[in-house]
């Protein structure tokens, strides 16, 4: 075991605040980012829960919920003629005004209209066969049960108006939260009415490739046409999340909170390491008298900061998973993908070693002559 690690274990009470500060920083970064990822994954639900390999939209579409009308015939023809494409399908999504049936008032809602058969590309996977069968009837809709109050309805059988068109609730789903407006699922024909899409227009053309690995080359070729914009499923999902993350300035709030957590962690860790060196000033002074160079001791302090960081991160990771689980039980989604955790670990380790670097100033005070009385 290295001298740094031996010292860390021997003086564990002294190092505990540093370890906890590092753990706190890592936990804060992971949970803050995970919370935002969870929050903004709501915007890409339709992309993530359907089976299309490629999404084709009007040019410059920023997010899946901000689609604009495109000519259905020409867009479908353009996509269908590509050699990689096995199937195409139209899909509609957009904001509409919802008029509450009781007490009046309006609410913005997000209409999602798709084909409803078993293996269609645009059918969201949480609509059961039974619900899809009920949606075949024109003007019927399915909403999330947690949105009933917001939409001013009591449950299945209620009527409301979307863009002045009557809509009947025929079913409820669970766990499809919304951000800007509650999701309203319906057939393509109902959606065309709710979104007032007249004539041969749609908002998206979806495509399935013969082989999903062909999606990127298909996207490249479609984008070269300049009449439409195409994305792979993953690209469009990421683009939708990032649009809302940056548009709402939530990223800035995240940055501040994470920076604050890092600052607290850095200061506490630095002070812990400083105090640890200061407590052994005389021992270090003997080593200096014996001619051991200062950089060798600095390396030892940096090794201590590395171990403090590593132990802190090891505490933070399981704690992050536990708290994410608690959040999930409370109905808040926290996503902790491996890339996010790796980034949180890397940032925290850099912070811990940076704190070690600032603690090196304590070694400047080490003077062998102080040992002579």
């Amino acid at each position: 075991m290295s001298y740094s690690l031996t010292t860390l274990w021997h003086d564990r009470q002294r190092f505990l605040p540093g370890v906890l500060a590092v753990a706190f920083s890592a936990l804060l970064i992971a949970l803050q980012c995970g919370l935002l990822l969870g929050l903004f994954s709501i915007t890409s639900i339709p992309v993530d829960h359907t089976r299309a390999d490629v999404w084709v939209s009007a040019p410059e579409v920023l997010s899946v919920d901000l689609g604009r009308p495109i000519q259905e015939g020409s867009a479908v023809a353009l996509v269908a003629m590509q050699p990689e494409v096995a199937r195409t399908e139209i899909y509609m999504q957009g904001f509409a005004y919802w008029s509450k049936p009781r007490h009046g008032g309006t609410e913005l809602c997000m209409v999602v209209g798709s084909r409803l058969g078993d293996d269609y590309l645009g059918t969201v996977d949480f609509l059961t066969a039974d619900l899809r069968a009920r949606l075949m009837e024109h003007g019927t809709i399915v909403v999330d049960e947690s949105e009933k109050d917001r939409l001013g309805i009591t449950g299945v059988g209620d009527y409301a108006e979307i863009s002045g068109v009557q809509a009947r609730v025929v079913g409820l789903v669970k766990g499809v939260k919304s951000l800007a407006g509650p999701y309203v699922f319906c057939s393509l024909y109902s959606a065309a009415d709710f979104l007032r899409l007249r004539g041969e227009v749609t908002t998206y053309v979806l495509a399935k490739c013969h082989d999903p690995s062909q999606a990127a080359s298909l996207v490249g070729r479609l984008n070269a046409s300049n009449t439409v914009q195409a994305f792979t499923k993953d690209e469009f999902s990421f683009r939708s999340r990032m649009h809302w993350l940056t548009k709402t300035k939530a990223g800035i709030a995240l940055g501040y909170a994470a920076a604050l957590g890092l600052l607290v962690g850095a200061v506490v860790t630095s002070q812990t390491l400083y105090a640890a060196v200061a407590a052994q000033m005389r021992e270090y002074a003997v080593l200096r008298a014996l001619g051991i160079p200062r950089w060798r001791m600095a390396l030892s302090v940096l090794a201590q900061s590395f171990w403090v960081g590593l132990i802190g991160v090891c505490v933070a990771l399981p704690a992050s998973f536990a708290l994410a689980e608690v959040a999930d039980q409370l109905g808040v989604q926290v996503q902790l993908p491996a890339k996010l955790l790796a980034a949180a670990v890397a940032i925290t380790m850099v912070m811990a070693i940076g704190a070690g670097l600032t603690a090196l100033r304590s070694l400047r005070l080490v003077e062998p002559a102080m040992l002579l009385r």
């Binding site: 001298y3 003997v286 060798r296 040992l371 002579l372």
Partner: protein, 253 residues
């Protein structure tokens, strides 16, 4: 023994050493025109009352404190004309130190305290450092206590570990500042014996700064410092006669 070693060339020479602290009206002179020669294979004792400049002289001779005047020749090289880095390397290669407080790392056991010097100083491998540390501790009678931490050792044992830390490099010079003052005489005597062995058997040049006149019978030479100046050894004898245990003084002095 004394005759034989005095004939050898001195390994450490202090020439007209001066040291002042502060400046202007607050200036104080700690050393004034002090010269001395130290020889290999000899243990020398530097005595004097508190504030006489003993520790300052030891610090200057050992390369820890810059003199304001004079010259220190160690193994023929002018110590204070070297760059800081070169002097640090000189200390690393040639100097061992023992201080009054044991100054052992609380987290490390006896063996690790010694290993650290070799690993950090010479870049020795873990295996080499371990073997040499075990060898030195066994010679110091701590063979069965290598695994103990400072908190588990007596004062005498801790000072022996500190001596081991100073000796593990097999230094040419061993500088000891009040090495026995924190120990009872039985343990202090053991420590002085070990230092005597280091000089007589290993050929090291050993300089001990101490108050305790009971050490005199164990050393080869005595220097007496008073008010920053060197006095005749008779002064040391006189001082020793006034100490608590005059019966142990050697007739030669």
């Amino acid at each position: 023994m004394l005759e034989e070693t005095v004939l050898a060339a001195p390994t450490l020479r202090g020439r007209h050493l001066c040291r002042t602290f502060g400046d202007g009206e607050t200036q104080a002179t700690a050393l004034f025109d002090v010269s001395l020669d130290l020889y290999p294979g000899q243990i020398s004792l530097l005595m004097g009352p508190s504030g006489s400049g003993k520790s300052t002289l030891l610090a200057i001779l050992s390369g820890l404190l810059h003199p304001t005047g004079g010259q220190v020749l160690a193994l023929g090289e002018d110590l204070w004309k070297m760059s800081d880095r070169k002097r640090e390397r000189f200390r690393l290669k040639h100097c061992g130190f023992i201080f009054q407080g044991y100054n052992l790392f609380p987290a490390l056991n006896a063996r690790q305290q010694l290993e650290m010097v070799l690993r950090w100083g010479e870049g020795a491998s873990a295996r080499q450092a371990r073997a040499r540390a075990a060898e030195v501790l066994t010679l110091l009678g701590l063979g069965k206590k290598m695994h103990l931490h400072p908190a588990e050792m007596s004062g005498g044992e801790k000072q022996r570990v500190a001596i081991g830390r100073a000796l593990i490099k097999n230094p040419n010079f061993l500088f000891c500042d009040e090495p026995t003052s924190a120990l009872d005489w039985a343990h202090g005597e053991q420590v002085i014996e070990l230092l005597r062995n280091a000089s007589h058997e290993r050929g090291a040049t050993v300089l001990v700064v101490a108050h305790d006149a009971r050490i005199i019978p164990y050393v080869d030479r005595v220097f007496y410092l008073e008010d920053g100046s060197m006095r005749e050894p008779e002064a040391a004898l006189q001082a020793a006669r006034q100490s608590e245990t005059p019966s142990r003084l050697p007739g030669a002095y």
